[in-house]
Subunit: 206 residues, 2 copies
DNA sequence: TAGATTGTTAATCGATTAACAATC
DNA sequence: TAGATTGTTAATCGATTAACAATC
């Protein structure tokens, strides 16, 4: 229904954490879980877990808790994690290689379907099962393969211009491994994943 | 001085973003920057940048802005990013290999000094310049090399027990690449870095 | 039924922003 | 000096938590 308040980003950000924990519980054979137990596992308050879930529906049973398999399915559906997403990988350097060979993506429904680089030395060569393509071929590939997601693994200096090209080609969400902040229009999403920043957040306290 | 209110974690978390932007500005040859300009680059409000910095001192000049080189040095000092930190890497699989070869760590003062695995097939073999060690050797190495930081790149099922061993050996901060939430005592820091979670945060909106 | 736990409300807590005096 | 921008205050906004009626 229109006019409904959007779910806060910070709540959406916690859903994958819940989903991962539920998947784990399912593997361990647990059928029902209370918010209190989940809270203990995750270091999040039980009230917060219940409140977060309540944005999307009533998934639990008073006196019992949540059926693990059912709640997991619901979260997968909410996050659109119950389908396969095609992704473009930009950057065929060391990091690009590691990303292309990282198996978790495929396992979780994120499939790299093409690889790009702007280095003429690399274009035409192979990265695993992919031929490395010229960036000029991006818009066509995005259209043909219905690519909504891209992974950026280029040097920091190149990040913004690569992201601009992705946006122009119609990509809607970008996972950025480059150590740089990139700016995108409001209808495009970016998540930056930067190990050095995480380390610096911790050395502050040491 | 004792009794001073600690700086909020969320503020500390933004400092590396500022640091990275200042390093970039310095490379571009810019000598002075106003909070307003930095704000535009980072998609953060100028008031927030000034407020964040004010937790640590007065670094700017009214009417001018901040001296890029000076503020950068201050932030490096605050974050303890002006020294080299020894790190242990746990897990010599594909991901461990990629991490060991990721050059940014070394460039930013984070040096991997030893590699561990619990697979007897791997122990004694090499990963780059390192001999892969048995986890049993961890406490001694932590002591000898004054290791405060570790990087975990093991399967999700093994993550918690590896983290427990790290904590017991005296490691104070852990960068966790395993797709699992891990629990640590309050005096130990963990940052989890999980690409699939970032992707799921974005597919929600697609 | 008695016990347990949900979903939700209201209170609390904390973070962000707007505004401006101070001052370079 | 006039113009610009900081550092800081107070107001606003939003997120977390405690508590409990509803109910399985």
């Amino acid at each position: 229904m229109p006019g409904t308040k959007p779910v806060p980003d910070i709540v959406v950000g916690r859903l994958p954490i819940y989903l991962r924990a539920l998947t784990r519980l399912l593997e361990e054979g647990q059928q029902v879980v209370a918010s209190k137990e989940l809270a203990k596992r995750l270091g999040i308050s039980s009230a917060q877990i219940r409140k977060d879930l309540s944005h999307f529906g009533e998934f639990g049973k008073q006196g019992k808790g949540y059926e693990v398999a059912y709640l997991r399915d619901q979260l997968r559906s909410i996050l659109h994690a119950d389908r396969t997403w095609n992704m473009a990988l930009i950057g065929a350097g060391d990091l690009g290689h590691a990303i292309a060979h990282y198996m978790e993506f495929e396992k979780e429904g994120f499939r790299i379907v093409c690889v790009f680089d702007n280095n003429p030395q690399k274009i035409g060569r192979r990265l695993g099962k992919f031929e490395i393509l010229d960036m000029a071929a991006l818009p066509q590939k995005v259209r043909e393969q219905e690519i909504k997601l891209a992974v950026v693994a280029v040097p920091a200096e190149a990040a913004q211009s690569v992201v601009d090209e992705l946006v122009r080609a119609g990509v809607k969400a970008i996972l950025n491994y480059a150590p740089a902040t990139v700016v995108v229009p409001p209808n495009v999403h970016v998540q930056s994943i930067e190990p050095v920043m995480y380390l610096q957040r911790m050395t502050y306290y040491l």
